[in-house]
Amino acid sequence: MAETKKLSLIAFSGDFDKLTAVFTLATGAAAVGYEVNIFFTFWGLDAIKQKRGRSFIGSNWLTKIFGFMMGGLSVAPNSRFNFAGIGPQIFRSLMRKKNVATLEELVDAANALGVNLYACEMAMHVLGLEKKDFINEVKDVLGVATFLKISEGGQTLFI
């Protein structure tokens, strides 16, 4: 077998369209034999929340309100054409009609392919999130130094 190639993605955005790009790259790369790491930070953490809708998760009243406003994967807004949350639903319906994988299907595929999911320790601390608030597939909670070590020798993208 050839030497393993590596792709590491920093998922900073919690936008529906940008997360779709993250998971399209991740699943495509994993499927053609790359080792894939995704490091979720700030808004990106919304993508790996256990609760995909809106819920008051956080360590105090302020982070709980933030948690509610940010929401999870199924309420991720579009970076453009959001139309108060209707935009992503229009895209989901278009994607289904055109037989293109939706964001939720891509996340499932990433998990089936063994893509490594990591959460940013600092952003979790700021937002009052704990590892138990995330899906079980999240492998670890990391900081910059560990992420750099994990991504070393491969390609890295910030989305």
Partner: protein, 74 residues
């Protein structure tokens, strides 16, 4: 040694690769997988990435129109 078939002619990137990879992971070593796919990215890259991942690509045949059949042995 069983033969499995996978039709990805209606799929789009990245699910073309994803479905092939997951199917190859499911089948037993020595089994054959026949993948029906279309010209362009799937035809260029499914056999190439299967080879890179250590699978044996036996043949790439034209079926009809823009549909091709790639035979891979795990």
């Amino acid at each position: 040694m069983a033969t499995h078939t996978l039709d990805i002619t209606k799929e789009h990137c990245p699910m073309t690769f994803v479905k092939t990879k997951l199917k190859l992971a499911q089948i037993a070593a020595g089994d054959t997988l026949e993948v029906l796919l279309t010209e362009g990215e799937p035809l260029e890259n499914v056999p190439r990435s299967a080879k890179e991942q250590g699978y044996n690509v036996l043949s790439v045949e034209h079926v009809e129109g823009n549909v091709h059949k790639v035979t891979i042995v795990k």
